[in-house]
């Protein structure tokens, strides 16, 4: 019998359920996150226009670069300021 050493980080992942998807956006604050991918701003401009026409409160956010994870401060800001987020993932 061979015994080897685990080459992984041996994480025990705790699964957390996602927040339930809202039935409607009415009354919710919507965040729009531009991750700095090409043309993401164009897509989000149009989404903002559509949502604003419906009378929704929209806040814009931007990652400094798409090549790195969002700064923690930005994630925390989004989490405290809006109820849902729409992210423009790719060009």
């Amino acid at each position: 019998m061979t015994t080897i050493l685990d080459p992984t980080a041996e994480r025990s992942v705790s699964a957390r359920p996602r927040l339930a998807r809202p039935e409607s956006l009415e009354g919710l604050r919507v965040g729009l996150l531009d991750i700095a991918k090409t043309k993401g701003d164009i897509f989000l401009d149009r989404v903002e226009q559509k949502l604003t026409e419906r009378g929704l409160v929209v806040k814009r956010y931007a990652k400094p670069t798409n090549t790195r994870p969002a700064p923690t401060a930005l994630s925390q800001k989004i989490a405290t300021e809006v109820d849902v987020v729409i992210e423009a993932l790719s060009d």
């Binding site: 019998m1 061979t2 015994t3 080897i4 050493l5 685990d6 080459p7 992984t8 980080a9 041996e10 994480r11 670069t65 798409n66 090549t67 790195r68 994870p69």
Partner: protein
């Protein structure tokens, strides 16, 4: 282990001349009273003295024997004195026999004990549960093929890996003076703490020798530096993976190849160091293709891409030296690079023509109309370097020439220009566009003596501050 509560204990081996020399002394001690002798190797030695064979070396290990012969004195179950090698005065003091070894010289050094030989000490530490290794033990069934079991658990890059047994990992850790539990950083994408021990495990799996471990550790540390942006390099849909360039005397001491087939297969250090880095990313960080690794095509170098610069054959300062590492120090430089694009020029014999050839090929990195996106590494072969050397071109001169000669008129690279929709809008019409950012070119010298074939390793579109910058790190032994 049947050690006497009170009495003398000697540990010897036949393969040690000093032990053989002391046989008459041991015989005298045995005749005088309580002496227990353990022999580490030949069970017939010493013929003239009653003895036990420490076949498993467990007795020697428990007694922490480092040198043979060792003579130790026990009283009431405790060791109260020991001497090693042949030291007449000390042996006499320990035994209380004033005329012991009268015919022998005063001093004769002993030999290394068998229980601390590399390859043996590790097995003893494992058997006695004294490895200090913290990783979870995974036991394979007796009918389980180890190599297949490692594939099945998803811990391979697609090629067989060496099973990381405790003994192998201990031997690997012998390659560094660093504490196995030292955390060297958080590996993306899981941002999991990575210890020296985890790197050693993956280095074993990659096929590294212990003496490669400091290079692997430096490479892991380098990719974790913020400017390298390992998370992005891993997650991008583009081709790149971490390429490692090694400089300094360690290249030669661990047998790295910087000459013929410098970027290819066939040289253990080159091939396994790069592989170990990628296994750390995969296994510790959880970066697997078609998961967080979103590469569309990837490149063959993502199994592992590690090269050594031929510093001795170069007329230029090394890559590490130009990046701030003092000459004579060991360093790795990591670069987010992808496969090889050749520069074939067998006709240029003056540096201007050759530099222009290099530039024409460099313009095509990623796309001839994409300007100031990717960095590039140029690997200059000996026959091309000769042309620059004989003309007295410094490395700085070559950098300047390549930057100047890769410029294109902005109008030529606009989207739609030349009938190609792809293009660059960052430069005003009528101006000259620079292909590479400042510091976006790197030159190393490697390769076999014959052949006018240099190479370009292209970088990531997101090179520099917006993505990944090369990182150079000194290697700690």
């Amino acid at each position: 282990m049947n050690l006497p509560d009170t009495g003398l204990v000697a540990i010897v081996k036949r393969d040690c001349e000093t032990c053989v020399m002391t046989e008459p002394v041991l015989a005298a001690l045995a005749a005088a009273g309580s002496l227990t002798v353990y022999v580490q190797d030949d069970p017939t030695f010493p013929e003239s003295v009653p003895h036990d064979h420490d076949a498993t070396l467990d007795v020697s290990h428990k007694l922490n024997i480092e040198v043979v012969p060792t003579l130790l004195l026990r009283e009431n179950g405790q060791e109260v004195g020991r001497t090693f090698g042949w030291h007449k005065v000390q042996w006499r003091e320990l035994t209380g026999l004033a005329t012991l070894g009268e015919d022998l010289p005063d001093l004769r050094p002993g030999c290394g004990a068998k229980n601390i030989e590399p390859g043996i000490i590790e097995d003893l530490l494992v058997r006695h549960g004294e490895t200090g290794l913290k990783s979870r033990r995974v036991e394979f069934g007796t009918q389980e093929d180890e190599i297949e079991a490692l594939f099945d658990r998803g811990w391979s890059d697609g090629l067989p890996v060496v099973p990381p047994t405790e003994a192998r990992v201990l031997r690997m850790l012998g390659g560094t003076a660093r504490d196995p539990q030292e955390v060297i950083g958080k590996i993306p994408s899981d941002l999991a703490d990575c210890t020296v021990e985890k790197v050693a495990i993956n280095a074993v799996m990659a096929g590294c020798k212990p003496e490669y471990l400091p290079v692997v550790l430096a490479a892991v540390e380098a990719v974790l530096e913020e400017p390298f942006s390992m998370h992005g390099v891993l997650a991008t849909t583009m081709f790149v993976g971490p390429m490692v360039i090694v400089n300094g005397p360690i290249r030669r001491s661990i047998g790295m190849n910087a000459k013929g087939n410098a970027l290819g297969q066939g040289f253990r250090a080159n091939n396994t160091i790069g592989r170990a880095l990628q296994l750390v990313i995969r296994n510790v960080g959880g970066g697997r293709p078609q998961e967080v690794d979103r590469a569309t095509l990837g490149n063959p170098g993502k199994v592992g891409f590690c090269v050594a610069e031929d510093e001795e054959g170069s007329c230029w300062e090394s890559l590490a030296t130009e990046r701030g590492i003092p000459k004579g120090k060991n360093a790795v430089t990591v670069f987010a690079g992808y496969g090889l694009q050749g520069i074939v020029d067998q006709k240029s014999r003056d540096p201007e023509s050759l530099a222009q050839s290099f530039a024409e090929c460099l313009k095509a990195v990623q796309h001839p109309k994409l300007y100031q996106g990717a960095d590039a590494l140029v690997v200059v072969c000996p026959e091309h370097e000769r042309t620059f050397r004989e003309a007295g071109w410094s490395k700085a001169r070559l950098y300047d020439e390549l930057h100047a000669r890769t410029q294109r008129l902005a109008d030529e690279i606009m989207p739609g220009a030349g009938g190609v929709a792809e293009g660059t809008t960052a430069f005003a019409a009528g101006t000259m566009a620079r292909k590479f950012r400042d510091g976006g070119l790197m030159i190393v010298r490697a390769g076999g003596g014959a052949g006018m074939f240099s190479g370009i390793i292209g970088g990531w579109s997101a090179s520099g501050e917006k993505g990944s910058s090369p990182v150079t790190k000194e290697i700690k032994l």
